[in-house]
């Protein structure tokens, strides 16, 4: 296999590679960083990477969005065959539905995490993990 820059193969894998890299960067931030806000930033980057991975797994080359818009179905009888033919060229809607849910849930968790950060700052006057160590980690 020869990977030239414009070889389609590498473009395709580049989505996976990016998603994995972003996941790694987010995990690194969440595990290593000392500032609590940085840790939460790491978590949210991790979340973004996973969402990208999910959507790119559902992608179909030169597919259309899974919406039967008026432009798509105009003057075409809505028979089973027509719909089947249209739907073959559509990307997978299920990962999109899952990501929709995952984004909202991720936002909820981030909000709770940040309110905990505010609470911790109120008690300790610092956000450094090393100084907030009343409990053993």
């Amino acid at each position: 296999m020869n990977f030239t820059l414009f070889d389609l193969k590498i473009v395709e894998y580049s989505f996976f590679i990016t998603a994995i890299l972003v996941i790694m960067i987010g995990l690194y931030g969440a595990l290593v960083k000392k500032s609590l806000i940085k840790v939460v930033i790491g978590l949210s980057i991790f979340d973004s990477g996973i969402n990208l991975l999910l959507i790119s797994i559902g992608y179909i080359t030169s597919g259309t969005a899974p919406i039967f818009s008026p432009a798509l179905v105009k003057d075409m009888p809505l028979t089973l065959e027509n719909i089947k033919k249209l739907s073959e060229g559509m990307v997978d809607p299920v990962p999109q539905a899952l990501v929709l849910t995952a984004i909202v849930i991720g936002f909820g968790v981030t909000a709770v995490a940040l309110s905990l950060v505010i609470r911790l700052y109120r008690h300790h006057q610092t956000l450094n993990i090393d100084e907030i160590k009343n409990l053993k980690w």
Partner: protein, 95 residues
């Protein structure tokens, strides 16, 4: 086609770059803007991957709301990762 590929590569690199930037940057406010940028790029990528619903959600939640919640938190706490630079007098001293 080639422009399309260049656009995709640019966006992917921008996303990785923004992720590294927001982890490395010591000023948390800039780091948060970096995460906002990740979400923005991500939502354009979703659009290119034919997921307009998700793109809309990511744009609204990731770019606007997450960023603003982070900014509110930073306003309530500290702005810098190394708190040596911290300008804000701590509350206990003020009292």
């Amino acid at each position: 086609m080639i422009y399309y590929l260049i656009l995709i590569f640019f966006l992917l690199l921008l996303m990785i770059g923004a992720a590294i930037y927001s982890i490395v940057q010591k000023d948390l406010l800039y780091a948060v803007i970096g995460t906002g940028l990740i979400s923005l790029v991500l939502s354009i990528l979703f659009l290119l991957l034919q997921a307009p619903d998700v793109a809309l959600t990511e744009a609204a939640i990731g770019v606007a709301l997450t960023t603003i919640i982070f900014i509110i938190t930073i306003k309530n706490t500290v702005r810098f990762e190394d708190e040596v630079y911290q300008k804000k007098p701590s509350k206990t001293e003020a009292k």
